[in-house]
């Protein structure tokens, strides 16, 4: 790189970064525009944020996503995998904005809220397009920083700021771990690029093996924190509970997509030479995650905490796809993420809709008798919960099927059996909510938010769950096309 002359050459294929550029510009414009919007018209900002997402999506979709294109000297890649993940994340962001519509009515700093969401999206988009650890780490920090602030958004609510602080401190610790591991890997391979590391690790001598293992382990730990894999999951329940519910919905889905995509890229591109080692590590983590997620959820009385553990459980199932380390496994994990997006967003939408006296329907008891008061919500919630539990023929079943099948095909039969056993345990706490809704008498006076957009979100997500359940082929096909290069 020493011979570069100024002015520096224009990066090739800059066009493939158009969505990110547009998003960054629009987000900043939003930030400025917010200053000029009078207080009673702040609702427009949400729609502007949605419009930004839509513009980004359109820009993304018009790009040739068929093969992988690089720009910025190979530091940024657009391939079907990244493109698919970006579509998912944009969808998650739009849904999260919809869920925020009512919540933001009583809050200050509306513009900054949506702007932070957009920047979080930007960070995640960089993450999934990163071909090296530097861009990946920066994208991750961009996303994380936005989410820290979003979690602590209700500054006057003690548990919100507490949650933000906890998440921040532990996040910093995990970033430290990630960087520490990175420095070991760099020390051995003198490279940041995934592909370069992967190549270098093939020829690594036995002497540095320990350093490589250590580096890999710390990197895995850092990434595992982001997708809440046990034992790096401890922040999840507290943060989910404390954060404003729309933010919980957002962070339970979008960063998981980004995290898993990065996870897959790192494992498949940077550490293929260490597959036996990382498979053992991930298996241990998966066993822990699945067990803790599904068992601890049973003891929860707060639905957000319960869904936090449910997320942990689902993340454990998704790990099976990574453990399989085959195209089928990666595709399975993507299928899982896709379906999980709709299931979780739908469930959170209903929780948000049940907001009363400033707090959203939080305790499980609040759901008692919902079927009598609002049969539609109860039906939608029931469908979503059944799907989360993995009952055929709802979408959640196919999600589990995809990863379990991949795990079995790659020889991890006992892991799959273990996962199936715990998914049965997991049914208990999902179905308990259904029982509350349908068989119990109402204990609190319901006070629903009447917001057509949010209601539409509920309808769309539960319909998606049913339709994917009955006809999972398109999702499966899209996902296997997305991971075709592995």
């Amino acid at each position: 790189m020493a011979n570069i002359t100024f002015p520096f050459p224009y990066p090739e294929h800059l066009g493939i970064m158009l969505p990110e550029i547009l998003l960054a510009v629009l987000a900043m414009a939003l930030l400025l525009w917010d200053l000029f919007v009078p207080k009673e018209k702040k609702g427009m900002i949400a729609w502007a944020a949605v419009a930004s997402c839509v513009v980004t999506l359109i820009a993304l979709l018009q790009l040739p996503a068929g093969d992988s294109l690089h720009t910025f000297y190979g530091y940024f890649v657009l391939d079907p995998f990244a493109a698919y993940a970006k579509v998912l994340m944009i969808a998650a962001t739009v849904l999260a904005i919809f869920l925020s519509l009512d919540f933001m009515k009583d809050e200050q700093n509306v513009g900054e809220y949506y702007c932070l969401m957009l920047f979080a999206l930007l960070g995640m988009m960089f993450m999934v397009s990163a071909t090296n650890f530097v861009v990946m780490y920066l994208g991750l920090e961009l996303m994380a920083l936005c989410v820290y602030v979003l979690v602590a958004y209700q500054r006057d609510v003690l548990r919100s700021s507490e949650a933000g602080l906890k998440y921040f401190i532990l996040g910093a610790l995990s970033s430290g771990m990630l960087l520490y591991g990175l420095s070991f890997i760099y020390g051995v391979t003198t490279d940041f690029m995934f592909a370069g590391i992967g190549e270098a690790l093939r020829h690594v001598e036995d002497g540095s093996r320990l350093a490589v293992l250590l580096g890999m382990l710390f990197i895995i730990a850092g990434l595992a924190f982001k997708v809440s894999v046990a034992p790096f999951h401890m922040w999840t329940p507290d943060t989910y509970e404390g954060a404003p519910t729309p933010v919980t919905a957002f962070m339970s889905v979008a960063p998981k997509v980004a995290g898993f995509v990065v996870f897959i890229r790192v494992l498949a591109d940077a550490f293929p030479a260490l597959q036996t080692e990382y498979t053992t590590v991930l298996s241990v983590l998966a066993v822990l995650t699945i067990g803790i997620g599904n068992v601890a959820a049973i003891a929860q009385r707060n639905i957000k905490r319960m869904l936090a553990y449910s997320t942990i459980g689902h993340v454990g199932f998704m790990l099976l796809g990574l453990i399989a380390a085959t195209q089928e496994g990666y595709s399975g994990a993507m299928v899982y993420l896709t379906i999980y997006l709709f299931m979780n967003m739908g469930a959170f939408a209903i929780i948000v809709l049940m907001r009363r006296d400033g707090i959203q329907g939080e305790l499980l008891d609040d759901f008692a008798g919902l079927a009598r008061v609002r049969p539609g919500y109860a039906l939608a919630m029931g469908l979503l919960l059944f799907s989360l539990a993995g009952i055929p023929f709802l979408a959640g079943f196919w999600a589990k099927f995809a990863v379990f099948a991949a795990a079995i095909h790659s020889g991890h039969i006992w892991l799959a059996v273990y996962a199936i056993v715990f998914s049965v345990v997991g049914c208990f706490y999902y179905l308990r909510v259904v029982k509350y809704m349908y068989f119990d008498k109402e204990r609190v006076a319901f006070n629903f938010i009447e917001n057509p957009v949010m209601q539409a979100t509920v309808v769309v997500t539960s319909l998606a769950v049913v339709i994917f359940g009955l006809y999972p082929k398109p999702v499966m096909a899209m996902c296997s096309a997305a991971v075709s290069m592995f």
């Binding site: 530091y75 932070l116 861009v135 961009l142 920083l145 320990l210 250590l214």
Partner: protein
């Protein structure tokens, strides 16, 4: 030889300072230890011919960040005694694990990283090499994307800090001069006809 000696001196002091940050009873002392730690780290940078980084470390961290830290710490009045609660309770397990982890880390570090010829072969840079120019060359070409993202991160940090602190509070009384100046008679005065 002398280089190695100074390296070990600075490195040892960095570690010592790090331990001091954690172990100091008074938060103020912790901050001071941290500053000392940064100085030593900067010295290590200098020894690697990375003058630019060394200077930046001192200017930004010591000069700006740590001073800010000190203000914050002084304003917060952290209770010293409570911070130490349960320290002894966790010491045995925590200490054991820390010790073993340390051994493992040292083992890993000494195993292969420093034997690597590529790393060892980096010698001193010539006098004609300008640190700042070299960093600039890669920063604005190869690492441009990272640089831009870092810029966005800074923006977010700014926005985040403002969001979490600044807001208009209704429960505080303050003077709104423009409102006062713009007040009209009709706003304050109401003519009421009193039946006599």
């Amino acid at each position: 030889m002398i280089e190695a000696f100074f390296f070990y001196v600075f490195a040892a002091m960095t570690v010592l300072a790090g331990a001091g940050v954690v172990l100091a009873r008074n938060t103020m002392y912790s901050v001071m230890w941290l500053i000392f730690c940064f100085f030593n780290a900067a010295a290590l940078f200098f020894m690697l011919d990375a003058e630019f980084l060394g200077i930046i470390l001192i200017l930004v961290y010591v000069g700006a960040v740590m001073v800010l830290f000190m203000f914050v710490v002084m304003m917060l009045e952290v209770n010293k005694a409570r911070l130490r609660e349960g320290f002894l309770q966790y010491l045995p397990t925590g200490g054991m694990i820390a010790l073993m982890l340390l051994i493992e880390l040292i083992g890993a570090s000494s195993s292969g990283v420093f034997d690597n010829e590529k790393v060892a072969a980096v010698g001193h840079l010539g006098a004609e090499v300008n640190n700042t120019v070299e960093i600039g060359k890669v920063l604005y070409t190869q690492y441009l994307l990272s640089f831009e993202i870092a810029a966005v991160i800074l923006l977010i940090a700014l926005v985040g800090a403002i969001v979490l602190t600044l807001r208009s509070r209704d429960d505080v009384k303050y003077q709104n001069i423009s409102k006062q100046v713009n007040v009209r008679k009709e706003d304050r005065m109401k003519t009421v006809k009193v039946k006599s």
